[in-house]
């Protein structure tokens, strides 16, 4: 409020000076001239806050600080801090969006892979990063799958339960080699499929198989 009292003081003093000048003048014919000049001076003094505003380039933060200095009692948040808070909030919001996107992408991928291939997805992990347009981009896909056992596959069309023979089990146990081969093939297929669907290079996809129990 100091500038206000300064301003009023200046105007009052100017009016008093003008009155003294009027008293000093020897005759009335000269009065008009001095009155004109003093009147202009008083107008300038009244408008001086406006001139100051015009001359300074109008920065909001400056005004904010000036107001803060003026209000000793109340606490106003400085403009810089508000901007900082905005940045922080934006960051956390972007992070949340990224996380949400990753989660939903993981869910979609799990569904797709399970539908398309005879596997059960144990764990799907997609890592994204924000590109320069603040849009999430996939950087890595990590998939842990479990091959469905033949019994599980056969569960889909319901058939009469065949007597489980030991022979098949033995066969399966013996042919671990063929299982891994099959797994490799499956892995490649899944990688190709995912790469095509999500439009990323196969090197970014990692698939590992858990041994069917």
């Amino acid at each position: 409020m100091e500038w206000l009292s300064d301003w009023v003081k200046q105007i009052i003093l100017l009016v008093m000076v003008a009155t003294f000048f009027d008293l000093l003048l020897p005759n009335h014919s000269m009065e008009r001239y001095v009155k004109l000049v003093m009147g202009l001076l008083i107008i300038l003094a009244i408008l001086s806050p406006l001139f100051q505003l015009m001359n300074q380039d109008f920065r909001l933060s400056k005004v904010m600080f000036a107001l803060k200095e003026g209000w000793t009692g109340r606490e106003a948040t400085p403009f810089e801090q508000i901007q900082e808070d905005i940045k922080k909030l934006e960051k956390s919001q972007n992070h949340l969006i990224q996380q949400q996107t990753e989660k939903s992408m993981e869910r979609i991928m799990t569904e797709q892979v399970e539908k398309k291939f005879a596997v059960e997805v144990v764990q799907a992990k997609i890592q994204t990063r924000l590109n320069q347009h603040q849009v999430p981009e996939i950087t890595e896909i990590d998939l842990v799958a479990k091959q469905k056992t033949k019994e599980e596959l056969k569960q889909v069309p319901i058939r009469a339960v065949e007597p489980v023979s030991v022979e098949i089990n033995e066969n399966e146990l013996e042919s671990t080699d063929s299982i891994t081969k099959e797994a490799e093939k499956l892995k490649k297929e899944i990688i190709n499929y995912l790469g095509e669907y999500w439009q990323i290079s196969p090197s970014q996809i990692q698939i590992s198989f858990e041994q069917p129990n």
Partner: protein, 129 residues
């Protein structure tokens, strides 16, 4: 009690002028002029006091030196022109007195030109182009 001195000098001078006027009008006029100058000089010191007070006020009011000096000069011109015009009018030369006053007014206008230009410039600055 300066006013008594001034009035005394004035009355004495008036009597003297009235006495002399019949015999020697020229001396009467000189006496009147001289009395006027004496009174004026005696009071100039008082004017200085008043101007000093006003100067302080103006300093507090943050008046530009250009404005303040110009206004003081205007007042000085007004005083001098008034004094000269009165003396010449006393001498019966009303037309010359009028010319002196005209000169005073013109000079005051010329003195006011810088202030007026500054103010007009500032007003033009605020107005959008």
């Amino acid at each position: 009690m300066e006013i008594i001195q001034v009035v005394g000098v004035g009355i004495v001078a008036t009597f003297l002028v009235l006495v002399i006027k019949e015999t020697n009008p020229l001396f009467a006029f000189l006496l009147a002029t001289f009395t006027g100058i004496v009174i004026f000089v005696a009071l100039v010191g008082k004017i200085a006091d008043v101007i000093r007070v006003i100067e302080q006020l103006a300093l507090q009011a943050k008046v530009d030196n250009l404005f303040f000096g110009t206004i003081l000069k205007i007042i000085g011109i007004a005083y001098i022109a008034e004094f000269g015009a009165q003396v010449t009018r006393d001498a019966g030369q009303g037309s010359i007195a009028a010319k002196i006053e005209l000169a005073g007014k013109l000079l005051i206008m010329v003195m006011a030109i810088p202030i007026i230009t500054v103010i007009i410039e500032t007003i033009m600055q605020i107005l959008p182009n």
